[in-house]
């Protein structure tokens, strides 16, 4: 009896649904029918072309060198393969895309040229699979410093891994390990997207690019160019802080405690919110990230600590200029008891948890020469940053560390859309932070050369 009811009830529901659907469709006016016919005709035209194209064999020719009459060199079709008009007939088909980016850098520290080195900074392979028109997954796998083993310094990591679903009305939801909307670099971190062989120090030591957390995010872009992103994610874990190394000071406090989805502590939730306004040639935006970071570890003295990181950024590209600025500021509350414990512990000169860290930069680039294929863009960037700008009301705390001032002067040579050669000189006025030499923390100025690509 129960079994029969299980069959009968859904059947009735289906019948009801079909009945409602047919009554609704009978209510369609002639005018609407005419419109539908027009729509079908248009769709049919597109489909006819698709058939014609298929019947006449493959037309997607390899990029033929076109003998331009007056124009400069021709862009390869690989950078912009116009697809067949059949694409307009709607999608729904599963498809998979491979992407990749990578960069290799040469660094010569001025004060210690003996540690000059070449490093495959990162090699990234990405995979996007679209299940249907509304749902896809995005994954990125990364190797840093070329070789990863128990005796090597390289890292192998999952940089992004999320599923994305688009809803009607321009809403999008992401679930998984995704990049936080913070600053100019974090979500757009490919070597072709920033100036300099290395990312700005503010975007590595204050905002720990490439910063990702596991969570659920939503976003929406409005017709006026506003993009809102918000979400709930895992939070950094302050109990990972290591007072015996200077990592927290030299790489930055968040780089030392973020979870990156590796058994990430998940007792405390974090929230993030960002807004960006984009119009042609200009972008302004801001974001905030807030969470508890103690993760309720048994006996841990930092369990009440809260992180607040906010930033504002802007970019303006009038004519040949590309101007950008960013300011980020973070606080970690209630760290006095923890720092007190470190100060009176067994570690001489322990690295304390900063109560305040901040940094900002202004950058100007100018396209001095370009044709359809090459572009040369010198740039200058001035950064001020402090990854340990105070220790709150801690008694006996060390004196506040002064700000570091960093100049970067260099140039980028772009080849097509996907390849960039870079050269720059980076100078640290106070030698407080290391230049990006992986062999330990070599402080100070350096000459850097690099090549990178992205597709």
């Amino acid at each position: 009896m129960t079994r029969n009811r299980r069959v009968i009830v859904p059947s009735l529901l289906i019948a009801l649904g079909l009945f409602l659907q047919s009554s609704l469709s009978q209510a369609v006016t002639l005018e609407e029918l005419a419109q539908r016919l027009d729509a079908l005709e248009a769709e049919n035209a597109v489909l006819r072309q698709k058939v014609a194209r298929l019947e006449s064999g493959p037309h997607v020719a390899p990029a033929e060198p076109v003998t331009a009459v007056a124009a400069a060199p021709v862009l390869s079709t690989a950078s912009s393969p116009a697809s067949s008009p059949a694409a307009t007939a709607g999608g729904g088909e599963a498809s998979t895309y491979v992407s990749s980016y990578g960069e290799i850098g040469y660094t010569r520290p001025s004060k210690r040229p003996s540690v000059s080195n070449v490093d495959v900074q990162r090699a990234v392979i990405g995979l996007t699979h679209r299940f249907d028109e509304n749902t896809k997954m995005v994954g990125e796998w990364e190797w840093e410093h070329a070789v990863t083993s128990s005796t090597d310094t390289g890292e192998s990591e999952v940089e992004q891994l999320y599923v994305e679903h688009s809803f009607r009305g321009g809403w999008t939801a992401d679930a998984g390990l995704y990049l936080l909307p913070a600053g100019l670099i974090n979500q757009h971190h490919e070597p072709t997207a920033y100036y300099g062989v290395y990312r700005p120090d503010v975007d590595t030591k204050i905002i720990p690019s490439t910063w990702r957390e596991v969570g659920l995010g939503i976003s929406r872009t409005t017709d006026s160019g506003l993009t809102f992103e918000g979400g709930l994610t895992t939070a950094p874990n302050l109990s990972q802080w290591d007072p015996t190394t200077d990592e927290g000071r030299l790489r930055g406090p968040l780089a030392a405690i973020h979870g990156e989805g590796q058994f990430a502590a998940a007792h405390d939730l974090a929230g993030h919110l960002s807004v960006n306004w984009r119009v042609p040639g200009a972008l302004v935006g801001a974001s905030v990230f807030a969470s508890k970071v103690g993760q309720d570890q048994p006996g841990f003295l930092g369990n009440d600590s809260r992180l607040l990181l906010w930033e504002v950024h802007g970019r303006y590209q009038p004519g040949r200029w590309d101007l950008a600025a960013e300011y980020a500021r973070g606080t970690l509350s209630d760290t006095e008891a923890l720092n007190e414990f470190y100060l009176h512990g067994t570690t001489p000169n322990p690295t304390l948890v900063p109560a305040l860290f901040y940094g900002g930069y202004a950058q100007a680039a100018y396209r001095v020469w370009s044709n359809d294929y090459f572009k040369i863009t010198p740039f200058a960037r001035y950064e001020i940053l402090n990854a340990a700008a105070g220790y709150g009301s801690l008694a006996g705390a060390p004196a506040r560390t002064g700000d570091e001032h960093i100049w970067t002067l260099g140039t980028s040579l772009y080849v097509g859309d996907g390849v960039v050669f870079k050269a720059d000189y980076r100078g640290y006025r106070n030698d407080r932070y290391p230049s990006a030499v992986p062999l330990g923390y070599t402080k100070g100025d350096s000459l850097n050369l690099g090549v990178g690509y992205s597709f």
């Binding site: 299980r6 009830v9 859904p10 529901l13 289906i14 649904g17 729509a39 248009a42 769709e43 035209a45 597109v46 006819r48 072309q49 014609a52 194209r53 037309h59 990029a63 033929e64 076109v66 003998t67 331009a68 400069a72 021709v74 862009l75 390869s76 079709t77 950078s79 912009s80 393969p81 116009a82 697809s83 067949s84 008009p85 694409a87 307009t88 709607g90 999608g91 895309y97 992407s99 996007t128 679209r130 028109e133 896809k136 679903h165 688009s166 809803f167 009607r168 321009g170 979500q187 757009h188 872009t221 006026s224 993009t227 984009r278 042609p280 040639g281 200009a282 972008l283 590209q317 859309d417």
Partner: protein
């Protein structure tokens, strides 16, 4: 269907069917936006080898396929629908051309990338309006990009340039 209440999903499934969330405009909607009240006649276009060469010379871009979705507008003018790659995914867009050969409008029909959807904004598309095949129609020259959507901006701009070169071969 081992769970006793699995059938509860049936009515839900009925409501989640076809419309694609990545589709912002259908072809018909774009036609009505650009040419309200006008009759549009589909006239699928196939380029011959000579036309292809002319288009490649005019635009400075290769023409990777020869068939184009084209409509003739009743009062004169043309309407194209085409697709280009953004970074990895296809962007379907429409181009309306006035009887005098200037661009009436560009509309983005489908946008699927995770970033860069701002190229749908009127302020970006407005840059094309009134331009003709005689204009450069090049990113960083007469068309400015959207920060974070450089490839999408560039490829739609190139697509429009290619279509305008094709349009130049059509009878007025």
């Amino acid at each position: 269907m081992n769970t006793p209440y699995a059938w509860l999903w049936l009515p839900v499934a009925a409501f989640t069917a076809p419309a694609y969330a990545t589709t912002y405009l259908t072809v018909e909607q774009a036609q009505q936006l650009m040419f309200p009240g006008q009759a549009l006649t589909a006239m699928p276009l196939r380029l011959d080898d000579a036309q292809r060469l002319t288009v490649e010379r005019t635009s400075g871009l290769a023409v990777p396929h020869l068939d184009f979705a084209l409509w003739r507008v009743g009062s004169g003018g043309y309407f194209f629908v085409d697709a280009v790659l953004g970074k990895h995914e296809l962007i379907t867009y429409a181009l309306g051309v006035n009887p005098d050969g200037t661009i009436k409008d560009v509309e983005i029909l489908d946008y699927r990338e995770s970033y860069g959807g701002e190229i749908r904004n009127a302020s970006w598309r407005q840059q094309f309006v009134h331009k003709s095949v005689a204009d450069p129609l090049k990113l960083d020259q007469d068309i400015r990009n959207i920060s974070g959507a450089t490839l999408s901006s560039r490829h739609v701009t190139e697509g429009v340039r290619r279509l305008m070169a094709i349009h130049a071969t059509l009878p007025r």
